[in-house]
Symmetry: C2
Subunit: 330 residues, 2 copies
DNA sequence: AGAGTGTGGGAAATCGATCTCCCGAGGAGC
DNA sequence: GCTCCTCGGGAGATCGATTTCCCACACTCT
């Protein structure tokens, strides 16, 4: 009762292993349709499944892609990983996801494990724009690597990201249109490229002395802290742009607790358009990433073995999703 | 510049491939310490990495475990998968996670993909206590399978779960101790074993005519709906037990919006102790699963090839985590 | 009819690590 | 001093699919 091998299928169909392989693996080689049918029938009858280890050994590819994200506790990264998983599966592969626990060291370990393991390529959402570079660069020598959502300097690798500057402009213009001009930014994780870019874009648009609250990490708890500070200055502010949804959720709940109405007194926006936005009343305006398109592009880049591609950053267009936290009519 | 093979290491160390393999793979066979050192040095120097495809082909095991969860949109399942990932990595393996999108059909597909793929064993959190059985049973013929967190009848497989009845008792006793006796249950997904068990335990304790609100799915939105219904009956109720944290979150936010104070007028408990509990004020009392211990047990079961083990359910003891949603002093 | 062209399909090498023999050397026992 | 045993370690088979030759046959063209 051992599993049937290609040899068994070939024998049952009365052909050689070579022919059976050509038929089942779909090698672009002409095979007599009659033989092909016999092989397929035999395979079906025997319940044949190709042995991936053997194929991997012979072809040198595993059909598995690895992803390293900063933290799976942030639902945005879960969504992101899911978008990549969709693409990978559509291509008949598997995805292995690792969590870097927001630590550059653990990130390096995870990258190492995945590479030492059995992946054809790696998609990395780097924890830090500076400190993640070396590990990624080292990894890129051993397998194709693409950065995703964030870049890391010194990585020597392409990055597929959102156009954060454009996103910030969308948000600010939207708030301006609503007559909100005293806008504060609540930003986190300046060490990440996305955090830094969002802050930079905000500062560029509103000037150095616009109110900003900088937090260490993209967590809801940090959003709470920000909420307290914003509540104190409620008189001077009529809108808050948050650098991440998780921040916005914490912020809104804290504001409401302080009897600040949203969007009545202060409008709030998030960033990333995760599902947790629906946790609160009101639902929160946010920026949607074109994750499917980005994931597709990332996988295309992984496959094109152009490993000498320069350290470039591709930016995808964001989309503004208006909800009641900025426009009560929405 | 091709990757070094075991042969190269053996040559560099002046030994045979067999010896090099014994040293590097740690086969329990005595090897001269001097030779072992030479092999290790050579391996390090050459930057040797064992080719997992070759090893997998030869040994017939891949070192990869697959997990299928009902939905990664529910943070509890993300935590659960993470707990399993920890254990698997500790054992030097990899984890592949799949999302069944709360559908029995997609679940069957994912199981099929993982098995066809390259996993040594499968951990499944079945979507349905009845409908998931056949797919699991079929899978169990091809590879070791362990159910996790929920069981499925007809699966012919062991399940490692929480003792939901005990958990419900913990919650009800806690509420009783606080003087809350008019308790309602908000439950979801009766098709899952956990949903059904929680409802059954509640009914057993409080009687058939205790207030229950049944919802189709474990989502925050469902929690909102429940919130509206509970708010209507606020006079008759002083506590609500939710069958899942995501429900509690939606419920609390809706109650508060309806000017029902928590825990003042109505105490609320969750289930699963996920991190989103901290999203709201007040933090929500919940039940913590001993996920690490459960994951460890599940992997032990996977490894013991006792595939003829009967269809049994192992239940782990829950832990009550008291927070301000029931006891404002907490 | 013979040479040239093309096409389907088989035999055997190959991927790299592991594992089963089996041999040789050194030590113990009588 | 000889036999037996133990233990380290090497040669080669093996896992199963892919892929590279290369042969054989059929058909066309001169």
């Amino acid at each position: 009762m051992t599993a049937p091998r290609l040899l068994d299928v070939a024998a049952a169909a009365g052909v050689s292993r070579a022919t059976a392989s050509r038929v089942l693996a779909g090698t672009p080689r002409n095979v007599d349709p009659e033989l092909a049918r016999r092989v397929e029938d035999a395979a079906r009858e025997l319940g044949y499944r190709t042995n991936h280890s053997a194929r991997a050994l012979r072809t040198g590819t595993t059909g598995t892609v690895g992803v390293v994200v900063p933290s799976l506790a942030n639902p945005y990264f879960v969504q992101l990983a899911d978008a990549i998983a969709q693409q990978v599966r559509a291509a008949g592969g598997q995805l292995v996801v690792s969590d870097a626990a927001n630590s550059v060291e653990i990130e390096a370990e995870q990258i190492e494990t995945l590479l030492g393991g059995r992946v054809d390529g790696l998609v990395v959402v780097p924890v830090s724009a500076t400190a993640s570079g070396p590990a990624v660069r080292a990894a890129a020598k051993r397998a194709p690597v693409v950065l995703f959502d964030r870049w890391a300097s010194g990585s020597g690798t392409v990055a597929v990201t959102l156009d954060n500057a454009a996103a910030m402009r969308l948000l600010l213009d939207h708030l301006d249109d609503l007559g909100r001009h005293r806008i504060a930014l609540v930003a986190a994780d300046q060490a990440s490229s996305s955090g830094a870019e969002r802050l930079a874009a905000f500062t560029a648009a509103r000037g150095e002395d616009a109110t900003t609250v900088l937090l260490p990490s993209f967590t809801t708890d940090a959003g709470r802290t920000a909420g307290r500070r914003i509540a104190e200055r409620r008189a001077a502010i009529d809108a808050v742009v948050c650098g991440a949804d998780v921040l916005a959720v914490g912020l809104v709940s804290t504001l409401q607790r302080s009897a600040v109405s949203v969007p009545g007194q202060i409008a709030v926006t998030g960033f990333d358009d995760t599902e947790i936005l629906e946790l609160l009343d009101p639902p929160i305006t946010s920026i949607r990433h074109p994750l499917a398109a980005m994931a597709e592009r990332a996988l295309t880049l992984l496959q094109s073995t152009a490993r000498d591609r320069a350290e470039t950053v591709e930016r995808f267009a964001p989309q503004l999703v208006v909800r009641a936290s900025t426009d009560a009519a929405a």
